[in-house]
């Protein structure tokens, strides 16, 4: 399968040629410095005039020696958050060493992490700003680019309103960058902004937050070491989060934990499991209720835990009674004895942890799936304790941080939402007038209306204007760190790309966006530095915040994301307002100041204690943190949990240690303990929603209590503990709100209310019950509903989907799709997933020479049964047809890894369109080493009822020999 890559050899030639020319012996370090330079030089030889490579000018090749500087950065791929030592000499990144002292990865990496250096120094990156003119890519200057793009966007804003420009942000930038992207959209005057969080774990965030209070992984990766039972459902960490397997295998070997993998596919993770359960795609609720059926039948539930800390379990009980073993088998395909064995093992081995990924989330009932799994953990009393909880492995390196702070269409940073109070709060933090912000929007209504989600931006372009809840369609897209092939319905997406007036792509690589549509003009490519080329913080899946050092200056003519954003803000005329409290040096906003700004505003989730200084100290003293407890036992960071996992309450000066395990009442709140959040009021239907006779250790209130407000402090007499400065700030905000008592733990910018609550052992967000019944959902009790494209028509009357509705400014189809029968012509289930070598849309990783070599061919896994029926042999090229009329040409991998009737494809490929190679459309020298068909070309409609997550884990298809 290995194919020769000509340019790889050219590069080596360039490298040795340079040494031949140098003609003199250099020491090892001198050599390495030169070899780092040669990357820049070779890039220039391949495609560019030499003067472009400013790094080569910066470092003089005649200097044989130079000091080697080590800089610590965080791996830019998945959400595990591995540390990397980068060795830099004379500005060139010459080597990569393991960081053994990191408590997260202890020096380890996967294929991607070990190939990080090439991401930055790889010469298939974008090298200078380019625009498409008459179908040709033409080099332009930065000044021209910002001017032209700015003018075009301003013109659209004037003619069609601010909502006609879509700011598609990224979960790959730093917290600071994602926060700025959200702020930019706000200042531009639209909520049409989103990032990868929408199509990754939005259903987790919504589902888990509506059950426990916060929508994040409850325990950390390290805490998995303490589990006795691990159930991975819809996740494949061996490929998607390999370093998480370090902790999982530790639990298995050192702790004797049982590992169960539930998946339609026998994954690489399943190969290491004690038990593998093959489940039909899209039946997670049925499976979970099937487990709970045994729990309730045998009285295995934790009755005391439920009485004290859970609301609505009786409603669950009623639904679960409908799921006896034979019905579960009929729907999910899992045999009754296996169901019983799994749940019995789980009950006998506590604490048990449930781990899930996109196999659970990417369904039109994704937010029901996630609530069902939380309910399982509540019923068994596994929630809120070390070794238990729900371990939700996030995808991208900073997707947790940019779910918390980044560009999302339904909320301002830190989950404040979009209501007037939220805007008032952030206006206070930003130190600008609310009325000015309001004036930026088309209307107050649109200011407070959820924007179009990334999963559906193309509907915002293509849908008839009268069906959209905004004045006009989307006319310009700014892709700022986002691949297009991670979104389903590629034919519609392609059409939308071709319809747009203006298309702007800001990325280290051109991405598939640049070539997918048949555009000839008004398309701009701006080279952004990678995240190794600027400093900032990132939050991993364990909610740990880590600080990235800037490793090298941006390569070629690339600029940092911060600078590009600043240049746009300046062009739009609001840079002074936007960066009022953020220092800007040489057009680049300073990362630390941005951190401090969101520290001042993100009280809801405790992103307030993680000052840049504390984060940097954690990076410096990594070796002091225990790799199981993640706590530092000595030194300047003594007592802190690594990465100050949020909520890290109060101000940095309060020195809260962070919260490694959410809702864990065995520790005082001041020491990282918590209870469930009192998020939904104090009572419903006459029944209390507050915790019953339980509170975190050390609490002065031994029972449930509502969230803290100034009024509550006054009633308790605890307002006496506020400092004069805190009181003054609270009174100022109170004057704004019309009542001092109304200032609460989320809006008090002094942090005083949080500090005093914690001083008395209380959680600022109250002490409530977790909710297994969420009345704000269409299905308050999670119900199984068949996928929109279901192969099981026989289950439909009973388990049909929702009626069509209208949400996120757009019509959303459910029954009008499910009512059509595609299963006769498209009999196979199609699902998708990850490979270890690539990530996301794969634009960066397929352009990484060390990774690309390992996976050169897009493929589909086909069971031998279907292969035989369709005359397909292993390695044959096949066509895969989707129900919407698209087809893709891929190689068949005949394997029992997928069950009969199932086809699996990885989603990282792009660059082919229904059999056609798009390689010649890339700007010169930027085509990735590996191209392939995108699975999402044939993936279909379907969106979660609550968050608009796309249903990309289950649809239908047909295969045919090509």
């Amino acid at each position: 399968m290995l194919k020769k890559c000509a340019s790889g050899f050219i590069r080596r030639q360039g490298l040795s040629a340079q040494f031949a020319a140098a003609g003199e012996s250099v020491g090892r370090r001198g050599f390495l410095r030169n070899s780092g330079l040669a990357f820049g030089g070779a890039g220039a030889l391949a495609a560019l005039p030499l003067q472009l490579v400013k790094k080569a000018e910066a470092a003089n090749p005649a200097v044989a020696e130079g000091e080697i500087v080590r800089r610590k950065t965080i791996c830019p791929f998945c959400a595990v958050g591995c540390s990397i030592w980068a060795e830099v000499q004379n500005g060139a990144w010459i080597g990569q060493e393991p960081v053994f002292e990191s408590p997260v990865n202890m020096g380890t990496h996967c294929a991607k992490g070990a190939a990080t250096r090439e991401l930055a120094i790889g010469h298939r990156r974008l090298k200078y700003p380019t625009k498409l003119q008459g179908g040709q890519w033409q080099r332009i200057s930065w000044e021209q680019a910002i001017d032209e793009i700015g003018d075009r966007l301003l013109k659209i804003r004037e003619k069609a309103g601010p909502d006609s420009v879509y700011w598609l942000g990224s979960a790959k930038g730093s917290n600071e960058m994602g926060y700025l992207q959200r702020k930019l959209a706000a200042f531009w005057g639209t909520n049409n902004t989103d990032d990868q969080a929408r199509i990754c774990h939005s259903t987790t965030v919504a589902g888990v937050a509506n059950t426990f209070g916060y929508g994040a992984m409850t325990n950390g990766l390290n805490d998995l070491q303490r589990s006795k039972f691990l159930m991975i459902i819809g996740g494949n960490p061996a490929e998607a989060h390999p370093v998480a397997m370090l902790h999982l295998l530790h639990a298995k070997e050192a702790n004797g934990a049982k590992l169960v993998v539930v998946d339609p596919r026998f994954t690489r993770t399943a190969a290491h499991a004690d038990e593998y359960v093959r489940i039909r795609s899209g039946t997670d609720v049925a499976f979970t209720w099937g487990l709970l059926w045994h729990v309730f039948e045998n009285g295995w539930e934790d009755k005391e835990f439920i009485r004290q800390r859970v609301w609505g379990m009786d409603e669950i009980r009623k639904e679960v009674a409908n799921w006896p073993p034979d019905e579960v088998e009929r729907v999910t395909g899992v045999p009754p004895d296996q169901m019983r064995r799994v749940i019995q093992t789980m009950v006998e081995n506590e604490p048990a942890s449930v781990i899930w990924c996109m196999g659970v989330t990417q369904h039109h009932i994704g937010s029901s799936n996630t609530r069902a799994l939380c309910t399982l953990q509540l019923a068994l009393g596994n929630a809120g304790q070390s070794g238990g909880g729900t371990a939700i492995f996030r995808g991208h390196d900073n997707i947790q941080g940019l779910t918390d702070l980044g560009a999302l269409s339904h909320s301002l940073p830190a989950y404040y939402g979009l209501e007037e109070g939220a805007w008032q709060h952030w206006a206070r933090v930003w130190d600008i007038e609310y009325d000015w912000l309001l004036s930026r929007f088309a209307s107050k209504k649109l200011m407070e209306t959820k924007g179009i989600p990334v999963s559906r931006w193309y509907d915002g372009v293509l849908e008839a204007e009268e069906n959209i809840d905004q004045p006009h369609n989307i006319r310009a897209m700014v892709f700022w760190g986002h691949a297009p092939n991670s979104q389903t319905r590629q034919p519609d997406l392609k059409k939308a790309l071709e319809t747009l007036d203006t298309l702007v792509i800001i990325d280290p690589v051109p991405t598939l966006t640049a070539v997918l549509g048949n555009r000839t003009d008004n398309t701009y490519l701006l080279p952004a530095g990678t995240t190794m080329e600027y400093a900032g913080s990132v939050t991993n899946t364990s909610r740990m915040v880590q600080w990235r050092e800037k490793v090298i200056e941006p390569m070629f003519e690339a600029k940092t994301d911060y600078e590009i954003l600043y240049l746009f803000a300046r062009k739009f005329g609001f840079a002074d307002r936007m960066f009022k409290n953020i220092a800007v040096e040489n057009d680049e906003p300073i990362a630390e100041d941005i951190t401090r700004e969101f520290n001042r505003g993100s009280w809801t989730i405790g992103y307030t204690g993680q000052s840049p200084e504390r984060l940097k100290a954690h990076m410096r003293y990594q070796h002091l943190f225990d790799s199981t407890t993640t706590r530092a036992e000595s030194g300047p960071v003594k007592g802190d949990f690594y990465g100050l996992p949020w909520p890290c309450w109060g101000t940095p000066e309060m020195r809260h240690p962070g919260t490694p395990v959410l809702y864990d009442t065995s520790k005082p709140v001041a020491d990282g303990g918590l209870c469930f959040r009192a998020r939904w009021g104090v009572e419903r239907g006459g029944v209390s929603l507050l915790a019953d006779g339980t509170a975190p250790v050390g609490s002065e209130i031994k029972d449930g209590y509502p969230e803290f407000t100034m009024a509550l402090l006054q009633r308790l007499g605890w307002d006496e503990d506020l400092t004069p400065q805190e009181r003054q700030t609270i009174e100022q905000i109170g004057a704004d709100l019309g009542s001092v008592g109304a200032v609460n733990w989320k809006t008090d910018l002094s942090g005083g209310i949080q500090r005093v609550a914690i001083l008395h052992g209380c959680a600022p967000f109250g002490n409530g019950k977790a909710r297994s019944y969420a009345w704000n959902y269409p299905d308050p009790v999670p119900l199984h509903r068949e996928p929109l494209y279901t192969p099981r028509r026989d289950l439909l009357p009973k388990y049909r989907t929702y009626d069509d509705r209208h949400d996120f400014r757009l019509p959303v189809l459910y029954w009008s799709i499910q009512s059509q029968d595609f299963s006769d012509r498209f009999p196979l289930i199609l699902t998708s997933g990850r490979l270890v070598e690539f990530e996301g849309g794969g634009d960066e990783t397929r352009a990484n020479v060390w990774l690309a070599e390992l996976q050169q061919q897009m493929f589909a896994e086909v069971n031998p049964r279907e292969a035989e029926a369709n005359y397909i042999e292993n390695g044959d090229m096949i066509w895969i047809y989707g129900p919407d009329g698209a087809r893709i040409r891929v190689q068949a991998l005949v394997t029992r890894r997928v069950g009969p009737g199932v086809v699996f494809m990885p989603f990282h490929f792009g660059g082919y369109w229904q059999g056609e190679n798009l390689g010649d459309r890339y700007p010169e020298g930027t085509v990735p080493y590996v191209l392939g068909e995108a699975t999402n070309t044939v993936q279909t409609y379907g969106y979660d009822i609550f968050t608009q997550m796309q249903e990309s884990k289950v649809t239908l298809c047909r295969i045919e020999r090509a």
Binding site: G8, F9, F19, L32, P98, A111, A114, A115, R117, L249
Partner: protein, 199 residues
Amino acid sequence: MARMKFLCDAERCIECNACTTACKNEHEVPWGMQRRRVVTINDGVPGERSISVACMHCNDAPCIAVCPVDCIYQTDIGVVLHSKDVCIGCGYCYYACPFGAPQYPQASNFGSRGKMDKCTFCAGGPEENNSEAEYLKYGRNRIAEGKLPLCAEVCSTRSLLAGDGDMIAEIYRERVLRRGFGSGAWGWNTAYYGSLAEE
């Protein structure tokens, strides 16, 4: 004196390929050549196991025995190295190797044309330690810097161990005790005990 060995614990290997790309990163190994690769058996069915394979730096290495120009030698710490200046690219070592370690660039500029290339245990070659000539032909010499092979240092699940044979054997033995079984040290017998131990 330490005797350097590799050990791949097949119970832990998850085929993440970190060893492969770390090697590429460290030594700038060109496209088409992999000094270390991961092999999976029973792919996709229960019993699936993956193993990271490279030169095992065998006792009584068969490649040394068959090399017609005597370019392969073993260092005092047991690492099997070779001279690309002497190698004639005949391929005998490839046929003799039980692990398929030797590679031959067909027309690359890595080292000399057609010279054999393989894992060096990150110990360079016969040239002066950490010299430019050594780097160009064999890659970095981490051993001379007091470091261990990078593939094992970054292994995601600590499946691949590298170092003094007694120490890694002890680490593995403790794992086996904890797990209660141990069939995973793939290739260990072939590389280090010879045919007698296989029986």
